[in-house]
Symmetry: C3
Subunit: 141 residues, 3 copies
Amino acid sequence: MWQQTTISLKARSRGFYLITSEIESNLRQLGDYKIGVAHLLLQHTSASLSLNENADPSVRVDFEAFINHLAPERAAYYTHTYEGDDDMPAHLKSSLLGVSLTLPISNGHFNLGTWQGIYLGEHRDFGGSRKVLVTLQGEPL
Amino acid sequence: MWQQTTISLKARSRGFYLITSEIESNLRQLGDYKIGVAHLLLQHTSASLSLNENADPSVRVDFEAFINHLAPERAAYYTHTYEGDDDMPAHLKSSLLGVSLTLPISNGHFNLGTWQGIYLGEHRDFGGSRKVLVTLQGEPL
Amino acid sequence: MWQQTTISLKARSRGFYLITSEIESNLRQLGDYKIGVAHLLLQHTSASLSLNENADPSVRVDFEAFINHLAPERAAYYTHTYEGDDDMPAHLKSSLLGVSLTLPISNGHFNLGTWQGIYLGEHRDFGGSRKVLVTLQGEPL
């Protein structure tokens, strides 16, 4: 059984955000699957999706500091500079962390580890609303 | 409906390349699916697949400069050195960016964001032709 | 045809490990599929799964040295510090390398490149046993 739907995430300023609840609340169709997988594609090139620690907000704070060190603004060797200082680093961060997740479904719910949550990395200063194309498949519940 | 096929990418020198068209032109089977996913596995350990900006070639130039800074040649601590200076960094770049993509299919086409394209990262100086094993599945169109 | 199962990996100290055989020997169900995909989710936030070189152990040694340089302990800007010096770097490494793999199945076996193997990155000093949730799907053999 296949379903496809688009979720529009609310606009956020630069940083890392836990969006598990925002995804789940827009994905009632999860309840239709006994065993399956949900494929999430963030349809952008300057933001990212990843899985990480869902409990302590300080982890997301440190992700933002770390990734800014890893892919700095105004590196001397950047040639793609006309869209702003935050643009080329945002592309790099997006590919390092990835824009796609495949999540297992069991009995109508994501089956993640106890401490895992979905992170949105918003890598532009003001990236606006972001779209996630979700493709669901599996055995009906 | 399942199909599996291998695409041989043409040989390229070190750098990042937009290969969306090369993949699509070797994947007529995409047209068979209404809703589905295509799984691409680059069957190598010194190259990568990722999604990023499909418009301005300067982004790919900056990816190459950045990744060479991130995973430098001749780091003092490398022990795996007998296959050439470009070899161990190529393995690292391959795992940081990944060798696999899952792409949604809608109505016979990849359903990517407007600005998204498939990047091949060729991380060896001369890596030769690269193979991509594609597994397609979905509802027939 | 869908199947879901959990594999408990044995506990390992910090480092990179080739676990292809450990996964396969716990996944007899692979033999049920002619064409398919196996989705592996490591249900943790301080370890990683990736694909890389399966032959020379020196590559794994260099991965560990590299990733420790990339995401160092005791960075001045870390705020999430109360779980030990190895904790916050472990979260970062986990998201950079990823916790999930989708692997193609052909005729009852993983269909990887000749030199590809599954790496477990154990990023805590002592992370204990790690769980991998495997979701299998495909056409019956």
